[in-house]
Symmetry: C2
Subunit: 338 residues, 2 copies
């Protein structure tokens, strides 16, 4: 599985700057340990809309607009938007895009979407195709539970391996000009499926893909884990995090010191009843745009490897007895250029 | 709506060659007017699988493998796959990707996916990020009807504005080296929604986006419609095709001579009972990889503007009273470089 292709990683010659970042979260995330970092904390999950899906559309749209404002840009200056979400046919994103007259690439990478959008956005900048690009994603606990699991009203009990979909959105403006933090490398993931069929244990399903991408990134870049101040996966939660440490360890990479997972950090698992931790596209996106980038400003971290993880299942594939394929894309973010 | 941004179009400095193309279609498409052009015509829509979705996965996988074989390449030489389909969470694509150990970007552009995948694939080649990339998509009449409309077993009568989802898959290998045909320009679409709510009239929903992209392409490139031997949209069908001609005419572009739509060409609407015509991601993809590229080999066409069109609705958005946003991406394919 961990064959060194040497071509899975791109090093940018003209690394894009993350010019601005915006985050919006729901009330539960706003009571979690990362609360001080978020730009907007909603008081209720509907935010004045009459459905959860319309609320998610609004959350994504407002977060993108906030990122553009923070960058002191006009909407017209943004040349491309790369975005996606978890809903069937990207409902939240497609409808949010109606209000932006901007060329749009719709992405589906499940909860890995923030890395997919940043990777492609960074290519557009580095390759000279654009000066300003938006990379964004969203998820919503209620719309996701309704679609993937059970009606919320049933109050079905969740196993301890289950995770809690983050309500929120994260967006960044990537820019040709700027003083960093820079997107320096991307490592694009392959679909990895070790045959796990339990859709209530997504951490275990995605961990092999995360380990595969991290190991390939380190091999391709000839770096060791201690090069980074922080290595952080997207939404493996406590179960998947432990598996990644074990899998990397089998390949002599010690992740025990500087590695964590956004799903572990975003909730207090004990007091917030979130079991294995946070998940959803927004889990990695708001942890990046809130916590990680704000701590990079303070120089707590200078070199971060960000690896959002996606479980590529559908309700239908589970009903048809299929296992859960995983994917993970890595984005290296560094305050200084080498 | 048709503001000339001047930045919606990319002209490639090192235009990628379409090194090979493969097409697979179902039995109905194999009885249509384009039948002689397809590589593989299935005898039944299940192709030995026990569900339609698994059949679609197999169709996509085999088509990608055929494209790689036709290019005389090994799978290991392909550096990226850009692909997507219509199913929730890209079920067909995600599961097909398990068998390729290749970095993968999942896309959702509804029936515009072939242009989205070719656009991003072409950027990877032109930008120097890869030598060989796959762009592919699939759709399946049965899996799409089941998901978006009614159970097939009900035999619900369809209005004359409705289209027929094409069963099949198209894939191309894009290459840095080669003698053409070349991808010379891409024009990436914006989401356009004029408020049409009839999900049984997708042609009308998508026509404004198609017209918007075509007009912006012509403005950006300073070309007139007669520059091209063929201008062909993805799956507007007969209703949408007529609307595009009218909308372009209002902007003094005469599309009456060299413009058609893949959905109009792929079925014989009279004898095949397909009403407005073909639709689905595969409609544009197999018309390109079958008919268009094979006629380019024969020099029937030397300059083609290919504009797959997507209707970004979901069952849920329709149930919530939403209109149908459309998107269309244009890809210019030319036998010779200027």
């Amino acid at each position: 599985m961990w064959k060194h292709l040497g071509e899975q990683t791109i090093r940018f010659e003209a690394p894009p700057t993350i010019l601005s970042a915006a985050s919006t979260v729901g009330p539960k995330e706003g009571k979690g340990p990362l609360a001080p970092y978020f730009d907007v904390i909603l008081e209720d999950v509907l935010w004045g809309e009459d459905t959860w899906e319309k609320a998610e559309t609004k959350i994504l749209k407002e977060t993108i607009q906030r990122a553009i404002s923070k960058a002191n840009l006009d909407v017209e200056q943004i040349q491309y938007i790369f975005a996606g979400d978890l809903l069937n046919q990207l409902t939240a994103t497609s409808f949010a895009m109606r209000d932006f007259k901007i060329p749009f690439f719709g992405l589906y990478g499940a909860c890995s979407t923030m890395a997919e959008s940043m990777s492609l956005g960074a290519i557009m900048i580095d390759g000279g195709y654009a000066d300003y690009v938006i990379a964004a994603t969203s998820s919503h606990y209620c719309s996701a539970e309704k679609q993937f699991r059970y009606p919320l009203q049933l109050g079905v009990q969740r196993p301890l391996t289950a995770s809690w979909t983050v309500t929120g959105s994260g967006a960044v403006v990537l820019s040709k000009e700027g003083l960093g933090p820079y997107v320096t490398y991307i490592t694009t993931g392959k679909v990895v499926d070790l045959g796990i069929k339990d859709s209530m244990n997504m951490g275990a399903s995605m961990a092999p893909a995360a380990a595969d991408t991290i190991i390939n990134h380190l091999l391709d870049t000839n770096r060791t884990p201690d090069y980074y101040d922080l290595i952080i996966t997207g939404d493996l939660g406590s179960v998947g995090k432990q598996l990644v440490i074990e899998m990397a360890g089998e390949h002599d990479y010690d992740l025990s010191k500087n590695y964590t997972d956004c799903g572990v950090e975003i909730f207090d698992a004990t007091s917030q009843d979130t079991h294995a931790g946070g998940s959803g596209c927004a889990c990695a996106a708001v942890t990046l745009t809130g916590y990680i980038l704000k701590e990079m400003e303070k120089e707590t971290f200078q070199k971060v490897l960000f690896i959002p993880t996606g479980a590529l299942l559908s309700s239908l594939s589970s009903q048809q007895g299929e296992s859960v394929p995983g994917i993970a894309h890595a984005v290296a973010i560094e305050s200084q250029l080498e």
